[in-house]
């Protein structure tokens, strides 16, 4: 049996105010799996990480690519198996949906090898279950955009609901990932259990306006709705240099800055490629001034989602 190649994009969870609800797929960063049918079982024969410090298990039951592939075979009632080779393009623990993209690629590959019978919604379900095994939380705000592409709204209940909501075509995204470790678990534990009523309304309004901005392709509406008063005040404390870097981005012309997922990656929004370059330099320099090395990329929305190459 021949090998197939599947690519799944990185994602920006939350998109600012939409904690655990909104997510956005981006270009230029993603995970790739090579996959082929085998007689039975799920085998993860190799894992190549992006950074030497990233350590990932090649136990197919502990890596989201393997878990998601097994979930899809189970949904298909398929006795056959799959061999996977995972090539990470997303740094682990970066807030860019690393485990979700591996899950998306694994789920998509298993479905592609066995008749493509499952829908996008089925694949989101399989990948979200897989991601939950590793992350400890059942949320589709990374798996859904990685699989479906573009921006998505998800209700991570039972049944899971994930819907794609259009695009903001003028959006240019600057992503800066500092070399800091923020565990998703820590990023969750630092959050309060209660939200003030006014903050609930403020974030919900912004999350609905971002949804509307994608539906209407309205960059101005998008960029003036990125404020998050619920989660960011707590998670920003885990990111050395957050205030300096955000201020640097805004001073360089960004129309908004927010934490990507649980961080530490930050994203900035602009509608100008030239301004994006200035923002990128300002953010990297600001982290450096705090003694933190970082990597960066200027990117756009990935409208396709997970695909066979």
């Amino acid at each position: 049996m021949d090998w197939i190649t599947v690519y799944a994009p990185a994602t920006i969870g939350n998109i600012g105010p939409g904690f655990d609800v909104l997510g956005l797929a981006v270009q230029h960063i993603g995970d790739t799996v090579e996959a082929r049918r085998i007689e039975t079982g799920v085998v993860l024969s190799s894992v190549e990480t992006l950074r030497t410090t990233d350590e990932l298990s090649t136990d197919a039951d502990k890596n989201t690519a393997g878990i998601a592939a097994r979930e899809v075979l189970s949904m298909l009632g398929e006795p056959g198996g799959i061999e996977l080779q995972l090539k990470k393009g997303i740094p682990c623990g970066s807030g860019l949906g690393s485990s979700a993209a591996s899950a998306a690629a694994g789920a998509f590959a298993a479905n592609a090898l066995y008749g493509n019978e499952l829908s996008g919604a089925d694949l989101v379900l399989a990948a979200t279950r897989a991601d939950a095994v590793v992350s400890g939380g059942y949320f589709a705000d990374n798996t859904a955009p990685s699989i479906l592409g573009g921006a998505t709204v998800t209700r991570s209940g039972d049944p899971l609901d994930a819907t794609k909501i259009g695009t903001v075509s003028a959006l240019v995204i600057v992503l800066v990932t500092p070399q800091l470790v923020v565990l998703t678990r820590t990023a969750r534990e630092c959050l309060p259990r209660q939200v003030p009523m006014e903050s609930f309304v403020a974030n919900m309004a912004n999350a609905c306006l971002i949804t509307a901005a994608f539906a209407k392709d309205d960059y101005a509406l998008f960029s003036r709705s990125l404020s998050d008063v619920v989660v960011q005040p707590h998670r920003s404390k885990l990111i050395t240099g957050f205030d300096r870097v955000s201020r640097g981005a805004l001073d360089a012309g960004a129309d908004g800055v927010a934490i990507s997922g649980s961080g530490p990656t930050l994203f900035a929004a602009t509608d100008s490629a030239r301004t994006a370059l200035a923002i990128e330099t300002a953010m990297v320099d600001a982290f450096a001034a705090e003694g933190v090395a970082s990597t960066s990329v200027i990117t756009e929305i990935d409208l396709t989602g997970t695909r066979q190459m």
Copy 2:
């Protein structure tokens, strides 16, 4: 100077989960003003209410129609005045945006009489300021849909942001208004100051999915996203018979039931005119079984908003 006639539709604030953010204009119920230019000042020469128990001031500084008209004249820098006659088609204190519709009609009439120079967004601002004087809260979730029509998302900050988000064309709405008094002030005071994090996420997800449902004209998505775990558990206690009436609506085939605005009006959703009749009967009967008289109407979305007749 000739009289003009302006009509402003009633509205469903919140649309279930979207507390203070989402709103929807409906057909068949609304307020009407007759208006004409006068030399100076704002005069409310008559107020005709729908129910004999509804008492409204004819002091133009205490009625939202007059306050909004004055606000528009001020925004226009217009020294001329306006005489208004208000005919209420919306019962006061019903949760159907009564004061907001009067404000919408007053604002629209003043703009129409003096050159139509203001935008819809300007009129939303004027009407929201007027509504705030009377209700004590600065929120556009009723004024925006009444003026713009259809469903709207609003961020009631400074600057105010209000955007129209499409339609759910299959939606048939059953509105049932029990003869109970629920003051907006009481309906606000009964709410907790803090929201559990899980409830915040659940309501935000549903509010974003409702926004997406309007953008995509998706009735199924709309009707399975009406759940409100933040506000309804508290406000429903103010509505005698709430549990029985909701259960009756669902048993009769409704796909969702929620409180309209701060209540006591309840709305039920269906995509069938025949089922709507059964739902209406079930809800009115259930209120009657609790000893509460009610009025009801079967309606649809009003896409036009405030207009000159």
